[in-house]
């Protein structure tokens, strides 16, 4: 079982790496990080702040764009090319193994991409500061949280791709990303409302993905430490939420008539 998942994950990764559009996005993100250096120069004493804020935001946003565009095509592309029938019918691969393999392959791709973008980011930081400082280690935490966002986004894109067209999947995933970014405001709205609105908004705030919880960019830009407990519980949250969404994807995909 593990072997089959590994093969699917590896193939997904290999296929994604061959996609040239991906490289364009990564290069563009690195350029954006470089651009942050120039933008920092036009202000006074906030060069590092601009670099960290803009750099990490660029990595997060480009990573999310990549996650959505690769994620939405994972299943639908296979159906379109009719390669899915070969995989599922000719080989002893179960549907859930296919989904989990695809998911892991995509996460691996995104981690590698984030690695390249982070390398560019740290090179720019080194150029600016001429050395790394102790507080820079918190930047790694922010990057780790960005990867956790990718994990959640990937699972959402994959779930939508099991029953919807690529265009609709993109819209749904992106909409959930935007809503999730404002999850704290949604909860705040719920807290201020009363009665059934309060119950509904509070429930929605917890059922919908919360991307705000992963955003520590402004804190690390100010060299504010990120507590270990937050790293632990954010990791747990991402893992549990992604598992829940992937389970939903498996349930939908399992019932889908592929003929």
């Amino acid at each position: 079982m593990i072997g089959r998942i590994r093969v699917i994950a590896f193939n997904t990764f290999r296929e994604a790496v061959r996609d040239r559009v991906l490289y364009n996005l990564v290069v563009f993100a690195i350029l954006m990080v470089g651009g942050a250096l120039l933008l920092g120069r036009i202000s006074l004493r906030i060069e590092r702040l601009v670099l960290v804020n803009l750099g990490l935001t660029a990595i997060a946003l480009f990573g999310i764009v990549i996650a959505i565009f690769l994620g939405i095509g994972l299943v639908s592309k296979e159906i379109e090319r009719r390669t899915l029938y070969t995989v599922l019918a000719a080989r002893p691969v179960r549907r859930w193994e296919f989904i989990v393999g695809k998911q892991l392959g995509l996460i691996a791709t995104l981690v590698v991409n984030a690695g390249f973008m982070s390398a560019g980011f740290f090179a720019a930081l080194l150029y600016l500061q001429h050395r790394f400082e102790a507080a820079d280690r918190f930047l790694l935490v922010a990057l780790y949280f960005i990867v956790l966002q990718f994990v959640v986004i990937t699972s959402l894109a994959l779930m939508f791709s099991t029953f919807s067209s690529p265009l609709l999947s993109t819209i749904f995933t992106f909409a959930l990303f935007v809503i999730g970014t404002f999850a704290e405001d949604l909860r705040g709205f719920g807290a201020m409302a009363g009665g059934s609105t309060r119950a509904l908004t509070s429930a929605l705030a917890y059922v919908l993905p919360n991307f705000a919880v992963f955003n520590v960019v402004s804190e690390v830009a100010h060299s504010i430490p990120v507590p270990g407990r937050l790293i632990l519980f954010n990791s747990l949250y991402a893992l549990l939420y992604a598992t829940a969404v992937t389970s939903a994807a498996v349930l939908i995909f399992d019932r889908r008539n592929l003929k």
């Binding site: 933008l39 036009i42 202000s43 006074l44 906030i46 702040l49 601009v50 804020n53 859930w96 405001d185 705040g188 807290a191 201020m192 917890y206 059922v207 919360n210 919880v213 520590v216 960019v217 402004s218 804190e219 830009a221 100010h222 504010i224 990120v226 507590p227 407990r229 937050l230 519980f233 954010n234 747990l236 949250y237 549990l240 939420y241 598992t243 829940a244 389970s247 939903a248 498996v250 349930l251 399992d254 019932r255």
Partner: protein, 309 residues
């Protein structure tokens, strides 16, 4: 139950348990963030840098920042917070991006000036924000109203408040009561001459009968205040020279200190109670600040809380 259904039930249970546990993890994460991470940090604290980064779309950026101000204030207010660290810098960024966003000056100054937990409790910052608004929008007379209100209500400086209302009343289009406010506050600050000048001007220039009647009452009150002060100095002189407390004005008349028993402009006699001058019918003389019975506070016109109707 078929094996496929069993598997589906299993996956469904996995989904539900993961979702429930994720809520738990999220709540703990929220709690940790709330307690340990400084949420109050601006991505880019320099208004000029934000302006440069907005690539010319400063209006839209200002709208976004103003929205952030409202969200920030609302959130903090809801929590009953005592500190609003980001409020002043956020407002500064907003108004630098769009110097003509009057709502940011008007409501921003209220948010800043009010005492915690109702606001940031920083009236100086509020006054500075409104002054910035006045510099950028000299035609906006309402900003002078807000400035006067901050001086009077939060900084307890009636003289400065009066000056602000007076400046505002000179702006074309300003409503007549701006001048009324200036006069009322000058009177409250003890600036009798300024107050008399302003009330006389209002009385002579206003076409509104209510405003004219109010100005007449004010002028009457100023006269009573002056008379009470003069009579009090006579009573004090009697006390010094005779070493006795005058019991009535008749006593002062008989002793040759006064030509007759004094009466107020409405014809009611003044009283001497324990050596202190008092008006006999204080309710018929609104706005007087002197000669009131002990415990009765002078009435002044206060601007409506929360803004202009």
């Amino acid at each position: 139950m078929s094996s496929r259904t069993k598997a589906s039930v299993g996956v469904g249970l996995l989904l539900l348990s993961c979702l429930s546990l994720s809520v738990l993890a999220l709540r703990i994460s929220d709690d940790v963030r709330e307690r340990t991470i400084l949420k109050e940090a601006l991505y880019i604290p320099s208004p000029k840098a934000v302006k440069a980064l907005s690539l010319g779309y400063t209006g839209l950026m200002a709208d976004l920042y103003w929205t952030r101000v409202v969200q920030y204030f609302g959130g903090k207010h809801h929590q009953g917070a005592e500190q609003y660290k980001l409020l002043a810098p956020l407002l500064d960024i907003t108004t630098t991006l769009d110097p003509h966003l009057l709502v940011a000056y008007e409501f921003g100054s209220i948010f800043l000036a009010q005492r915690p937990p109702e606001g940031a409790g920083d009236p100086e910052a509020a006054a500075a924000l409104v002054k910035k608004g006045i510099r950028e929008n000299p035609e906006a007379w309402r900003l002078w109203y807000h400035l006067g209100f901050i001086y009077f209500e939060e900084l307890h400086d009636s003289k400065a408040a009066s000056a602000a209302f007076l400046e505002g009343s000179k702006v074309p289009g300003a409503l007549p009561w701006m001048q009324v406010m200036a006069a009322a506050l000058a009177q409250h600050a003890g600036e009798a001459e300024t107050a008399r000048y302003l009330w006389t001007q209002i009385y002579n220039s206003s076409e509104n009968p209510d405003i004219r009647a109010n100005a007449a009452k004010r002028l009457l009150a100023l006269r009573v205040d002056e008379e009470v002060e003069r009579l009090q100095s006579v009573a004090d002189r009697y006390r010094r020279e005779t070493a006795t407390l005058p019991e009535s004005f008749l006593q002062l008349v008989q002793a040759g200190y006064l030509p007759g028993v004094p009466v107020d402009p409405l014809g009611n006699p003044y009283l001497l109670v324990d050596g202190r001058v008092q008006v006999s019918r204080p309710n018929s003389l609104p706005f007087i600040t002197k000669g009131l019975p002990p415990g009765q506070k002078p009435s002044i016109v206060a601007p409506p809380k929360g803004g202009i109707p």
